[in-house]
Symmetry: C2
Subunit: 260 residues, 2 copies
């Protein structure tokens, strides 16, 4: 007597706005088995299956993963309402962190865009360089005057290809030595670290546009850079991440205090 009508896979797909492939997938992973399988292998779904499908689609729209959905929906018998709420709470937390991450990324992208635009064509091949100190154009200009950047850029452009390769290699070598020292657990006040700091200052002095270029760079300049190494991931990555950059900063601070 009960009108146990059921529907073919395509009908269900149209009804719920999904596709037959999705339904077969849900069957494949055991999330939603059809209520009946005809002798020819065709899948048919009854009202109960439709109910379950509605729940699945709702949770999916909320952003939950299929394994989680299978978990909270249970084996069609384990209906625990508390589990649903706690799962949704966990999911809400995850959404929060994800959105925060996107927000931070948007800020970074926006900042990078303005930097690229302000620097314009000049920055084109030095930005992102990771080796050329002109990376920090903004900060340098703010503190040391606008022409400092232009001078260093001219210096870079005046070099031959061979000179540039050599300079890059020297720069990378210095960074590599810093990274190695940091990951070795070396102390910032140790003789080796201080020798690295000396090389670092020497390296900086080789860049025109650097305050005090040719002679000893200005103390405040060094300290400012040291802080930037830690604060800006673009630099930090050069020295083995934030921990490495912190090591560099500490070593440079000690060196500056004693020598400069």
């Amino acid at each position: 007597m009960a009108t146990t009508k059921d529907w073919s896979i395509q009908e269900v797909a149209r009804l719920t706005g999904t596709t037959s492939r999705t339904l077969r997938h849900y069957d494949g992973i055991g999330l939603l088995p059809p209520s009946r399988i005809a002798s020819n292998g065709y899948r048919y779904y009854d009202a109960d299956a439709l109910v379950r499908l509605q729940r699945i689609l709702l949770l999916r729209d909320l952003g939950l993963g299929l394994p989680v959905i299978a978990d909270v929906l249970g084996d069609a018998v384990t209906q625990d309402p508390g589990a649903q709420v706690s799962a949704l709470r966990t999911h809400l937390d995850w959404l929060h962190t994800e959105r925060d991450r996107l927000t931070r990324q948007m800020a970074s992208v926006g900042h990078t865009i303005t930097t690229l635009e302000e620097g314009g064509r000049l920055m084109a091949d030095t930005m992102f360089d990771g080796f050329d100190h002109t990376q920090y154009q903004e900060e340098v200009e703010e503190r040391w005057g606008r022409d400092a950047y232009a001078r260093s850029d001219a210096w870079w452009r005046g070099m031959s290809e061979e000179e540039r390769v050599a300079w890059k290699a020297r720069t990378a070598e210095l960074a590599a030595d810093w990274s190695a020292a940091a990951s070795d657990g070396m102390a910032p006040e140790s003789a080796e670290a201080q020798e690295l700091a000396r090389r670092h200052v020497e390296w900086l002095s080789g860049v025109p546009g650097t305050p005090g270029a040719g002679a000893a760079p200005v103390k405040e300049y060094i300290l400012g850079l040291a802080d930037m190494y830690v604060a800006d991931p673009r630099f930090a990555r050069n020295y083995g991440g934030e921990s490495g950059a912190t090591f560099v900063r500490d070593a440079l601070r000690i060196y500056a205090a004693h020598v400069l």
Copy 2:
């Protein structure tokens, strides 16, 4: 004379905070080929490669995909700064829409949580149902009094399993007919659509707790529901998505105006 020093894959990995697997992957997809491959097949990277890697990692941190990065970074020769900016702008737009999506999802999840909590245990097996009108507990209670929900819930719980299956099937059948009619492009004022509207009202009258249950449901109740079908995706899905729900709403409006 040029100190063309280079580094092994592991050294580069430690230097830049990635893994050797990543570097091999970048080689595999042609994004960052090593500058030198020894006779034994070992990969070595020079300063230029490190520069390129820095750029890659920076863009990756900004959330760009590897194909996009390969595109804007070019074939190590095609250095177009304008392409970088426009790519970043496109990416920024994408980040915007993504964040908006997450925000909306968070609102939905939050709403669902409070609904589940308020309904508590009672809602457990009717919520998400997609067929039981007690879905719209909140709205129903607001407009028609708190006991309306309790009455319909009691009615549901009083049914035998067999009765429930039959009820669900009948409900699903109605929804299926609506969906089919909508996707057939039927006119809301057509006789067939109006017959569906009649069945719909009849179906609603079978639920105790419905205003005017047993007799003809109240006109405003029907119109309110019709609007909800369109506004709330949980209902819309039952009638073949938003377009289907709109069809249902229009047909019900016409029916209510003429008959009720």
